[in-house]
């Protein structure tokens, strides 16, 4: 008897196993297939810093959560409906995120004595009744995988590596997804080793058929496509979107892109991505350290390229002095900080929002730099594009803040048409008559971009204070005071260029939830849920952290209470209070994980009691 098919609006699945079990790969395959089916989705890869953490241990568990649906999806899901656990450690670590009544699919073979001990289980949880409130399916995944490919005579290592495709196949069956996209991917990925293509394909199909032919699963599910806006879509992660936004800006501006970067988690994928696009004349320079990353980018900007450097918190700290140089030189530069848990090395693979003050203020002396924050994985495209546009228009370094969650998270993205992107007009200065390197555009206060190679414009710039207009070295007290104020004024003036901030919800009311960066989806879900209950709560999400948009102060006045949830100890809250003298209520968490919507909902309830 075929299992009956139930319709669902949304589902959250979490794949969990050893960091060597291929859970990230399984998760991203499920994501791609799901995106192709037209579901809306959001993902949360959650993995340890060690590449191959000791097998079976609690700290070596790697997880990948995907939330998808036929409705709009903004977060990777507060709790999951299905947990795929490849070993006892994976079960133990992730059980708290499984909802009551949720489904557990466990690899029974992984629950051996050794692994149980490593996960600190005295009795096998699959047998002791402790999981009774869940629907448990213990499947001999390793054994079934071995059987599926035994005639190929492959090493146990290869067999062991294929078993994640069995889980993937089962999930494809359970959620009625086709196999072809993953098969195509396997063929492409392993084309040099046909035996692996064969093995993985067989195992994938075996997993699917296992669902089809055995009767252990009572139900299959169907999640209809979401009603997304019409157009062409693709699935994209935050780091990919950042890279593409930079290339798009370079293409629109007609300038070469130069990336100077030192590998660092979780920003390295931007370097990887950009280094692929040689036919876009993108030059990537894998520098000897973080400082050389930014210094080379400044050199390239001086030469007329769009200089970019990408990093995470510790790297941003190392780049500090060079950022000050870029402020002094007034050259365009984009600095991308993919924030991670800190301080120091902190939690390299976990997300956090605690670099905000470092970005806005973390330099010696008065060194104003515009700061833009991306809100969603796909939103990184627009944010990177906008950061580049501002850098070029105002001749200034710009910091783009994303975070580990946005960087690795994926979502469907409505591909923009190239024509819909704002123009980025750029003009190098070429007129030698009366050339003054520190003269300024009346409106933007940008200085001319006079690149080496231009006859007659030979001039010297540097980190010493510049004399207004001439750019000569100047130690004059009045000039320094003037220039410090001028640089601040220039950055403040960017606010004139920005669209007004808009509120989602009501123009005035009892509570405004103000956020920035990657908390967007969780806040949005929480606010929408509470509005459905009739609560007077609205959302303001800040994309431009420095300078703030001009109407932010006005907006804040229209609500009785202001709540600022952040994955830090209250950094945006501090800036808002300092600038607008408004009392704000903080909601802070620094667990290395994004907010769950229900955490924010709880706080909203408390404030609107």
């Amino acid at each position: 008897m075929a299992a009956k098919i139930e319709k669902l609006d949304e589902v959250t699945i979490r794949f969990a196993g050893d960091s060597g079990d291929g859970m990230q790969l399984t998760g991203s395959q499920f994501t791609n297939t799901t995106a192709l089916l037209g579901n809306d989705l959001s993902t949360l890869p959650d993995y340890p810093a060690e590449i191959r953490a000791p097998a079976g241990t609690l700290f070596g568990v790697s997880g990948f959560q995907i939330h998808f649906g036929s409705k709009e999806i903004s977060t990777p899901g507060d709790t999951c409906d299905v947990l795929v656990a490849m070993n006892p450690a994976a079960l133990k670590v992730n059980l708290r995120s499984l909802r009551d009544g949720g489904i557990i699919i466990a690899n029974r073979d992984g629950f051996n004595e050794k692994n149980l001990k490593l996960a600190e289980y005295e009795i096998n949880p699959l047998d002791d009744g402790s999981l009774d409130k869940f629907q448990v399916h213990a499947v001999d995944i390793t054994k079934l995988t071995t059987l599926a490919i035994q005639e190929l005579n492959l090493s146990t290592k290869i067999v062991e590596r294929s078993k994640n495709f069995f889980s993937l196949g089962m999930m494809y069956w359970m959620f009625s997804r086709p196999l072809d996209s993953s098969i195509k991917w396997i063929q492409e990925k392993f084309k040099k080793t046909p035996e692996i293509v064969e093995a993985n394909t067989r195992v994938l199909k075996a997993g699917y058929n296992y669902g089809e032919t055995t009767e252990i699963f009572h139900a299959r599910y169907e999640v209809k496509p979401a009603s997304l806006a019409p157009g062409r879509y693709r699935s994209i992660t935050g780091n990919e979107a950042t890279a593409w936004g930079l290339i798009a800006a370079s293409s629109k501006a007609g300038l070469d892109l130069f990336l100077g970067s030192y590998p660092i988690t979780p920003a390295s994928e931007i370097l990887h991505e950009l280094s692929r696009y040689k036919n876009f004349r993108v030059k990537t320079f894998q520098a000897e350290d973080e400082i050389a990353g930014i210094a080379s980018a400044i050199g390239a900007s001086y030469g007329g390229s769009i200089g970019v450097t990408t990093t995470s918190g510790p790297g941003l700290a190392l780049k500090t002095e060079a950022m000050g140089l870029a402020v002094m030189l007034e050259l365009p530069l984009v600095i991308v900080d993919v924030q991670r848990g800190g301080p120091s090395t902190g939690l390299p693979t976990k997300t956090e929002q605690a670099d905000l003050l470092q970005a806005v203020h973390g330099r010696n002396s008065e060194a104003p730099i515009p700061v833009i924050a991306a809100c969603t994985p796909a939103g990184c495209f627009e944010a990177a594009y906008e950061a580049t546009r501002i850098a070029l228009k105002y001749m200034t370094p710009v910091i783009l803040l994303t975070d580990g969650y946005l960087a690795n998270g994926a979502e469907p993205w409505l591909i923009p048409s190239p024509d819909s992107l704002k123009e980025i007009p750029v003009k190098f200065h070429t007129d030698a008559k009366d050339f003054q390197p520190y003269s300024r555009d009346e409106k933007t206060l940008a200085r001319p971009w006079a690149i080496p190679g231009t006859p007659g414009l030979e001039h010297r710039i540097g980190g010493l204070e510049k004399e207004h207009i001439t750019g000569n070295v100047s130690y004059s007290a009045e000039n320094h005071d003037f220039m410090v104020k001028l640089r601040q004024h220039k950055v403040d003036g960017i606010a004139e260029d920005l669209p007004h901030a808009t509120v989602d919800g009501d123009e005035r009311g009892d509570l405004l939830v103000v956020g920035w960066g990657g908390t967007y989806g969780a806040i949005k879900t929480a606010v929408e849920n509470k509005r459905k209950e009739g609560k007077s709560v609205s959302q303001l999400h800040i994309k431009y952290v420095n300078p703030f948009q001009k109407n932010i102060g006005e907006i804040l006045k229209n609500y009785k209470k202001i709540l600022v949830p952040e994955l830090n100890l209250g950094q945006l809250a501090l800036l808002l209070q300092a600038k607008y003298l408004v009392p704000v209520i903080k909601l802070n968490k620094v667990e290395g994980l994004p907010f769950r919507a229900d955490e924010i909902e709880k706080k909203i309830d408390e404030l609107l009691k």
Binding site: S181, R234, F280, A295, S296, A300, I451, P452, G453
Partner: protein, 349 residues
Amino acid sequence: MKHVDELLKDVPKISVQKYTAKDFQSDQDVRWCPGCGDYSILAQVQRVLPELNIPKHNLVFVSGIGCSSRFPYYMDTYGFHGIHGRAAAIASGLKVARPELSVWVATGDGDGLSIGGNHFIHICRRNIDVKVILFNNQIYGLTKGQYSPTSEFGKVTKSSPYGAPDHPFNPLLVALGAEASFVARGMDRDPKLLQNIIRRAALHKGTAFMEVYQNCNVFNDGAFFTFTEKETKDDNVVVLEHGKPMIFGKEKDKGIKLEGFTPIAVSLKDGKYSVNDLIIHDEKDTMLSFILARMSNLPNLPRPVGIFYAVERQTYEQEVARQIESSITKLGEGTLDKLLNHGETWIIK
């Protein structure tokens, strides 16, 4: 635009615009201490540049921090006074972005070998076509007299009243160890030799490293006088000339011979050794370059100056350009449309 070296090849001696040394002097007052060796280095660069026929607007001097790093302000070319130690990294980005420019770095022993040591070794190994002039005065001048990474062991300075406990760097060995493709040593007080080195460095394709002994007459006066002053010079310096035996001495009566891997100084007067026994300098000999650079650390040997090593190998920016061109040939010039719509996409109606 064409690479500068190609320009040089096309128009070896006839230049569109004839420059003189004066054309390279900027309108800024030179502010080094009177008597400083920096003046000579500036003068030799300004003297050599007119011969090279590089359009002035294609020249960029990049520096870090320190006395030497004021250099760009005094050159009427493009100039970039960076931050401490980072000149090599800034210059690397500039040269990779704009291979047609002629990019030079002015740095010091502190700037280039201490705070900027990392960038220095990496520019050498990458072989980015940047000319690096390291003003070695074996002292921190701008911060008023602390010992530097090239100061001799035991040197008494403000920060080492009981003598520097540090063993110094030999800049040439650092450069050679980092696989620099052009390595030379000049001296502020030997203008002809310095000009020759600068000229050769300018024509070299790849990172060209020039150590220049520079007298800081305020904080380390006379550090190199044994090698630069008339009375002592000839007996204490051996000038390297490609293809020629290593002869030195006022009477040209001494030479350098190899015993195993160890160079020794021998007399040509007593009939025991002749010119035929001496090392014939070969700029392309990697092993020899290390031995010659090592001579500075050995006692009883003259100090070699001149061009130690000069070989051509592919530059970093050539490889970058090659990858870009081959990618464009294969995939066509990238367009926004191609970028956004490649790979797996789907349409929602």
